[in-house]
Point group: C2
Chain length 323, copies 2
């Protein structure tokens, strides 16, 4: 099953799902954030991973939706904690309503994700539930590390990689593993699928960090340099702080302190520092390393190559994407 | 199993439970709010309900802890939404740390409650999970109705009763039913246990509302009249708004509007209005009606009376409590 077909299936199932309506203040924000769209990458991966092992892709629908609702719950609460005003070009929930609505509708989405997961076929429920629990906790831990890094000057590359693994990669990995489980994969098959996803997720996040600085403004869709403006501890910044010395280090830390910099100057100057340290190449190289690992795990899965072709294509497109 | 023994068992199991420790900002608030104590009423009821049907009370421990962690998660987020500074005589989590810590550590507690539930014996897992999901969603709905009522002048007694059923009573009911399930009760037995709990929970909340106004200041522990000062839509206020007419109604709504009332005068005057409308007797009567229903459900459960005596004693004590 290719990505586009999986995405359409997810959208159709999400539209059909009988979310409650009353009280409106609780459930309207749930429909709202789910209606903002997004790529539906995670649930589509669940369906695609299932189809590697089985043609009964319907078995993967409930876990796919559960992970998508959970992912959107984390976005809803993250936006509130980060005080972000915009999500996918629209107002965030706490802006459109208020912080209390964002807290409580997020809470009910988290519970909803479990309710949907519990509608999975009985034979897979226990394994799915354990996977879901462990992953959901790790995502919270990753978000906490990410918030901790905001107020710390020193963050190592190793700590950063652990953070994005928890915050981003394990969810991609779990979505793929859930697909494998409901496709009837043996334990080795579903573990290999998990490792494919974990490495792909890390590569994906490093690519995200890269595009925010070195993306093509005409294609990227969002404003280039937003992470630089907010001093976000991305791989690029952490590596630049590690590699820069003397005058350059002083210049870089100068841009990170104080609030009265001209935004345009700050983005341009920090990007120049990154470029002169070859951070663009280093980051592409690290993403490629994780991508290669991911592909190797996918290759080790014991099914005919044509069943894995869609996932291989998706992974390649992810790495080549410009937005 | 009597309440005190059940409570001690819960405290011991909570202390033993291997909650994660890192990152500290995420998990310290979890230990903190669980360490504030409280009566452990809900998990103790799970153990007591299990012991009505079986001596293998250990089967009820995981669901009991899951419900207690879930309940504390809702307190943590409710305190943030209500901007309450104090919980059980100590600083609330968002006061001691900050709102973001309260949001994210609450989120992880909600997930933790599912992780603990998933450690229940396989044979009960599916039924427990469905009960837990349905209940958790209802608790969120009840909290939303409660918040909606704050900004509405007109709330009917019927709406109020529905709200406390969702916000408070179904959780008590579900705790008891979870105990019945893990005690091996048949469907009728666990449904009767649920109805016992639902009615007891409603009676419990009406008693809470009553004590806030008519409690003995020397015994109550908290300041009398706090609900009056915050214009909280309790049963007492809703009923008084329904029954008062003419000059008295005008006086009551006068106390509800404006912010410059002397707190002592406001509590005294509103209490006098309640008393002259016999709201104290009406509210005690309604609590007694639900208590009587609860007891009837408990009596219909098909086990020897001595196995149900501890629950009957607990329910009676709840109704006679002064704090």
């Amino acid at each position: 099953m290719d990505f586009e077909k999986a995405r359409q299936l997810v959208d159709g199932e999400l539209e059909k799902y009988p979310f409650s309506r009353s009280p409106a203040e609780l459930y309207e924000p749930v429909r709202y954030i789910l209606s903002l769209g997004g790529k539906r990458m995670r649930p589509a991966l669940t369906l695609m991973a299932c189809s590697v092992f089985s043609d009964a892709v319907h078995q993967a629908v409930k876990p796919a939706l559960a992970f998508e609702v959970f992912h959107n719950f984390t976005l809803l609460h993250d936006d509130l904690m980060d005080n972000s005003a915009v999500r996918r070009g629209k107002e965030t929930v706490h802006e459109k309503w208020n912080p209390n609505v964002a807290i409580l509708s997020g809470d009910v989405m988290s519970i909803l994700s479990y309710r949907i997961l519990a509608e999975s076929d009985d034979q897979y429920l226990k394994e799915l539930l354990h996977l879901f629990n462990a992953t959901a906790m790790q995502v919270c831990e990753g978000q906490q590390w990410d918030m901790n890094f905001e107020t710390r000057m020193e963050v190592s590359v190793e700590e950063y990689l652990k953070m994005i693994e928890l915050k981003t990669a394990v969810l991609v990995a779990a979505c793929l593993k859930a697909g494998a489980i409901t496709g009837g994969a043996d334990p080795l098959g579903s573990d290999l699928m998990y490792e494919f996803g974990r490495n792909l997720g890390i590569a994906f996040q490093i690519r995200d960090d890269y595009l925010d600085v070195f993306g093509d403004p005409k294609i990227f869709g969002k404003k280039i340099g937003n992470d630089i403006l907010t001093n976000k501890k991305t791989f690029l910044l952490i590596k630049a702080l590690e590699l820069s010395k003397g005058k350059m280090k002083k210049e870089l830390t100068g841009w990170l302190s104080g609030h009265d910099h001209n935004p345009h100057d700050k983005v341009r100057s920090v990007t120049e520092i990154f470029a002169s340290l070859k951070i663009d190449r280093i980051s592409s190289g690290l993403a490629a390393t994780h991508y290669d690992k991911a592909v190797q795990y996918l290759e080790r899965i014991d099914t005919p190559p044509e069943r894995k072709a869609a996932l291989a294509d998706f992974a390649r497109d992810m790495m080549q994407r410009e937005k």
